[in-house]
Symmetry: C2
Subunit: 341 residues, 2 copies
């Protein structure tokens, strides 16, 4: 609870001098600096960040607005990996992170801008917002430096970090095509996710370039959940027995499809090939181990924080960074064997 005032009284120097001495200004003699530092030590002084932030207009704090840090997403360490990356990067530059805990309920109470301004964060990283999220427009209107994760929008003070969703989705489907699959279905997430849109485009591109005509009905939304994906896959497999492969927009949904195959008595990959997306830690333990698109979420977070801090230093470097995903071949894909044979 000691303040510079206490140090001032103890040493006899003015508040000003104490402040300058402690902050390493050069226009204070080494002898007084030594005295002051000793006094600070003996009083176990620590500067008050609030007071400092109030006058300096800089808090060395990054805001983190994450949809999905709640009970239902607990299995999705996706969010956590990003968080670790952000954390490590911020730590290197002496920033601390503040987690805005915003339920969807509270989202209506406090706007994005209010949240940030109250806490006086220097910048914000946004993760998990949807296209129809009201926050999104606010971000663009606001003057707070912001980095979006997986939303390719850019402006004066908003940048983004993402991965090449379209290309890697395309690569996943091309892998299936190369194996000989022609009747390929897709389980997507939900329309409000940017990534869903991009992954769908990748699917379409791959199919079109291969000259395969695909049915609109074969592309369905699985809400990024295992259950819904399983449900949709069963429906699809019943209605269209000719389907030999699934491309899923997430590993958990791929797991749902695996279960659907089990439910239908279809072997994987013997009678049904499945590709996922994400490469969650569990994917390698699936039965069979899942062929999937690997995303380096840690690096994504790391780069997001890096980009934001560069923006704060008003370096006018590029305001976006798109990382490359990687197709990981495991055992859930194989040549097609029509199940009526």
């Amino acid at each position: 609870m000691a303040t510079i005032k206490d140090i001032s009284q103890l040493t006899g120097f003015s508040i000003t001098t104490v402040s300058r001495a402690l902050n390493g200004y050069s226009d204070v003699s080494e002898s007084t600096r030594k005295l002051i530092k000793e006094a600070a030590e003996s009083l176990s002084y620590s500067p008050n960040g609030l007071a400092r932030g109030l006058v300096m207009k800089e808090t060395k704090t990054l805001g983190l607005l994450v949809s999905g840090m709640t009970y239902k997403n607990i299995d999705n360490n996706f969010v956590f990996e990003v968080l670790c990356g952000i954390n490590d990067s911020a730590a290197n530059s002496d920033y601390d992170l503040i987690l805005f805990s915003t339920n969807t309920a509270k989202q209506k109470m406090k706007t994005y801008t209010q949240l940030c301004r109250e806490r006086k964060v220097d910048g914000v990283i946004l993760q998990g917002v949807k296209t129809d999220d009201p926050y999104l427009q606010e971000v663009l209107d606001s003057d707070i430096p912001c980095v979006l994760i997986d939303i390719p929008i850019q402006s004066e003070n908003v940048g983004y970090v993402s991965t090449n969703h379209k290309e890697s989705a395309q690569a996943a489907v091309e892998h299936l095509i190369r194996l000989g699959h022609q009747k390929i279905a897709m389980i997507n997430g939900y329309p409000e996710a940017f990534v869903s849109k991009e992954r769908f485009e990748g699917f379409v591109t791959a199919m079109d370039q291969a000259g395969l005509n695909w049915k609109r009905e074969w592309v369905v939304n699985g809400d990024f959940t295992e259950e819904e994906a399983q449900h949709q896959a069963v429906k699809l497999l019943r209605a269209y027995p000719e389907i030999t492969a699934f491309f899923c927009a997430s590993d958990m949904m791929a797991l749902g499809v695996i279960k659907a195959a089990n439910e239908m008595g279809l072997s994987v990959p013997g009678q049904l090939s499945i590709v996922g997306f994400d490469d969650i830690p569990t994917a390698v333990y699936f039965q069979p181990p899942l062929t999937t698109i690997g995303q380096n979420m840690y690096q994504l977070g790391y780069e997001a924080a890096n980009l934001l801090m560069r923006m704060l230093k008003s370096e006018d470097s590029p305001k976006s960074n798109v990382l490359r995903n990687e197709l990981i071949l495991r055992s859930s894909t194989d040549k097609p064997h029509h199940r009526n044979i």
Copy 2:
């Protein structure tokens, strides 16, 4: 960037009145309150948390000091689950969380107390610190309200939240004993972890109560890592072929033991039974699915934040909360079949 001063000028009321009106004091007429609120709205005013915190000596902020939010622990969503629980609980009471990003490197630069005082957090939750961590003593010396996770220490302003490690470890071993195992080895974490100590005690109690004499050499440390556990298990299985079961202090180490069994050509659970601890999401996908002790880490985090916020309201309710774990039976344990048969 609008302040109450701006509102004051716009409406003609004094700063005081504006402040009181906005904060819902009763001694301001409804008509002026309405005027002031409208002005605030039109200026899109948000209060400055720094200024407020400076005078109120309360920031509505909880500090979070987590060892292990870094790259190497990324597979361990343990930390994440706790975080989600804390987050949800804090959100319900309008607290925000600040993540102290402290490398072990920086740990020497800034003390625990400095970290907290600079940020003026109202209280702190500590996770993942070891018994020999210098921060631990600081916590006890400091006057900042604090809740420890999985460290049973308590004082005027520090409480803790944990699970019944000893009893549940005991239950795990008793399960093995009930199946008929007598030669049971244990892979523990490391000595500096409180939980390791407690889980070890549970092991000892179960063995002693069953009248089984166990060898000190059969209890080894696996550093909570898959690799080290595998290494140690292989060593143990080579030296003591009579071992028929392993109790592991974490699921990842149990996985290491499964791999050790594979390496040695032993079937699980046919020739070797294995029990883990944690119930990570992956455990159910192990080959075979892992019998383990399930910890509800989300709830642990939730209760930690709850406890801390109760302490902040200086309610003198109990300062500790010990949750109960649950033995989850899957397929990695069975009756012993001596491998020479």
